[in-house]
């Protein structure tokens, strides 16, 4: 389990992360979302002990990273797909990591098999494609059979097959009882992978909730209505508690379903030429959420 407590990180005057707290629980995939520069990588680097927080702390199973007795058995991480010496073969890269934590040599071939690189194990990492490099990074993360896994944008630059493979891998790892934290820019991607969401914007926490809760909360349905009598229909719908905006023979209705609008129009004798439910996509909801992150922070401070 990862616990981030009131963590802030300041780089040369600029705040990258501000007073961030969240928990990554075992058995679920936690999606870590935020636009470019939100502070996802910084947060992960602080968790890994690669960066010292300005204040607050991050612990893994109660330990600061550098105090973990055998780090690779506790945490596996993929921070950068290119993080291997281009002149070193894949097997030696993994063998060196295994030796540093006294892991069994047999683990090297096991993880090579797990990520499907056994046939190119003797090849230099510099000859690998982006996808193969990603797999090598994942093999390194899995080497110690760790209880906690961190992936920073693991699907970046991958083809659809690779994306599907990583998605399934993360789901399997969580199903085995591991804590999995995976960062992404894409809400649509996380909707398919994550059970829980942690959303940040400009270094601040925006949302920390189960995926279903986020979906239910953010996906409001709008109904577009085309009618020759917009003003009269708007008045009728307002009586039903709907919120409507009028313009150019069109009504945008929020708050009542399409079927209710149709019935109300029939009862009032108002003609309807078009009735279209429009569901805001998760991606739009996410963009809306993060676009307002500064205002959101101000509003919470006022409460």
């Amino acid at each position: 389990m990862i616990v981030v407590e009131n963590m802030s990180k300041r780089f040369a005057g600029a705040k990258a992360v501000s007073d961030l707290s969240f928990v990554v629980r075992p058995g679920v995939v936690t999606g870590f979302l935020g636009p470019n520069g939100a502070g996802k990588t910084t947060t992960m680097r602080v968790i890994m002990g690669l960066e010292a927080p300005t204040s607050g702390r991050a612990t893994i199973g109660g330990f600061a990273y550098r105090d973990l007795p055998v780090p690779l058995k506790a945490v596996g991480a993929l921070l950068d797909a290119r993080a291997a010496h281009p002149g070193r073969d894949a097997r030696s890269h993994l063998a060196a990591l295994a030796a540093s934590n006294r892991l069994a040599k047999s683990r090297v071939d096991e993880v090579l098999g797990l990520v499907g690189l056994e046939t190119v194990a003797h090849r230099r990492a510099g000859t690998f494609s982006l996808g193969m490099g990603q797999r090598l990074g994942i093999a390194a993360a899995l080497l110690g059979d760790p209880a906690v896994l961190l992936f920073d944008e693991p699907t970046n630059g991958l083809d659809p097959e690779g994306i599907l493979w990583i998605r399934n891998l993360m789901r399997d790892l969580a199903a085995e009882g591991r804590a999995v934290l995976v960062s992404s820019h894409l809400m649509s991607e996380m909707a398919l992978t994550a059970d829980h969401l942690v959303v940040i914007g400009r270094g601040r926490l925006i949302a920390d909730e189960p995926l279903e809760a986020f979906v239910a909360r953010t996906s409001t349905e709008t109904v577009l209505v085309r009618t020759p009598e917009p003003n009269r229909l708007a008045a009728v719908l307002a009586g039903l508690g709907a919120y409507t905006t009028t313009g150019d023979g069109m009504l945008e209705v929020v708050g009542v379903e399409a079927s209710v609008i149709g019935d109300a129009a029939l009862a009032a004798g108002a003609a309807i030429h078009e009735l279209t439910p429009v569901r805001a996509s998760l991606e739009e909801a996410f963009m809306e959420l993060t676009r307002d992150c500064v205002e959101y922070a101000a509003a919470t401070a006022l409460r």
Binding site: R45, P71, R82, S100, A147, V148
Partner: protein, 272 residues
């Protein structure tokens, strides 16, 4: 698996952790084709250049000149190619650390060995051992080949003569220390081009410039210039305006320790 189980909580001893880090660094060092190629090339060049220079120098030897005889040091003549392997060890020492930065490999390494002092110590220890073995092998090889080449035209040296074994074995030590200095500079500079430039300046360029200074400046500068002082190991006979072999090597070791301490301070305590 639901958390950090008991097996994860067993902390290895400090020594076990350090030796595991050394083992890891050794696997990394030997698995790079470029390291093997550089050392093989340097070995061939060191012995070959040593033999050629020994041949050229000994052909000018005049047995009739007493002064020439006193200055004739067949041991240091046979070790004249050592500069090649000295440069190779300096560069590979820098690369031990600098090569991990461009790809971000250093962050993977540090996630496996989060104690930075331990990592730096392991890299230094592994490369010191590489430098010692390579240095001793090549200085003895260059000495042996050099004496064979010289034997046709001038008196040769043997390991039994006073100071000769010290010079040949001490040259290996000198090379190991140069390698450690390379690692320290690599950790301080973190860039291959920068680190190599610093090492070349320290070992060759600045002492070379020192030669053109007025004598009153040149002699003390070259006497106490760390790499020049360490290089006194190569001479059997004491030199004018130079430290003795052990004092000279001691000065180089002290300088390396200073650079190493600065490197450790940056590596361990500086941000990221």
């Amino acid at each position: 698996m639901t958390g950090l189980d008991a097996a994860v909580l067993v902390r290895p001893t400090r020594w076990a952790g350090f030796s595991a880090a050394c083992h890891s660094e050794w696997i990394k060092f030997r698995s790079l084709h470029s390291n093997r190629a550089a050392l093989t090339g340097a070995a061939v060049l060191t012995v070959a250049i040593g033999a050629l220079l020994a041949m050229a120098t000994s052909s000018h030897f005049h047995p009739g000149l007493v002064a020439g005889q006193a200055a004739w040091d067949p041991t240091s003549v046979s070790l004249m190619g050592i500069g090649v392997v000295e440069l190779a060890l300096a560069v590979l020492g820098v690369v031990m650390i600098s090569a991990e930065y461009p790809t971000g490999l250093i962050w993977v390494t540090l996630s496996a060995v989060p104690l930075r002092g331990r990592l730096l110590a392991a890299k230094t220890a592994v490369f010191a051992l590489v430098g010692l073995v390579v240095g001793e092998l090549l200085s003895f090889a260059a000495f042996a080949v050099g004496q064979v080449v010289i034997s046709g035209s001038a008196p040769t040296a043997s390991l039994g003569q006073p100071g000769v074994l010290r010079a040949v074995a001490g040259t290996g030590l000198f090379l190991a220390v140069i390698g450690m200095l390379g690692v320290a500079v690599g950790a301080l500079v973190r860039s291959t081009t920068g680190g190599v430039a610093v090492m070349v300046a320290l070992m060759f360029v600045l002492p070379g410039l020192g030669q053109v200074l007025p004598e009153s400046w040149r002699d003390p500068m070259l006497e106490f210039w760390p790499t020049q002082a360490g290089g006194q190991m190569l001479n059997v006979a004491p030199q004018a305006h130079a430290l003795g072999p052990w004092a000279g090597l001691g000065l180089l070791v002290g300088f390396t320790a200073l650079v190493g301490a600065a490197a450790a301070a940056r590596f361990v305590y500086a941000e990221s």
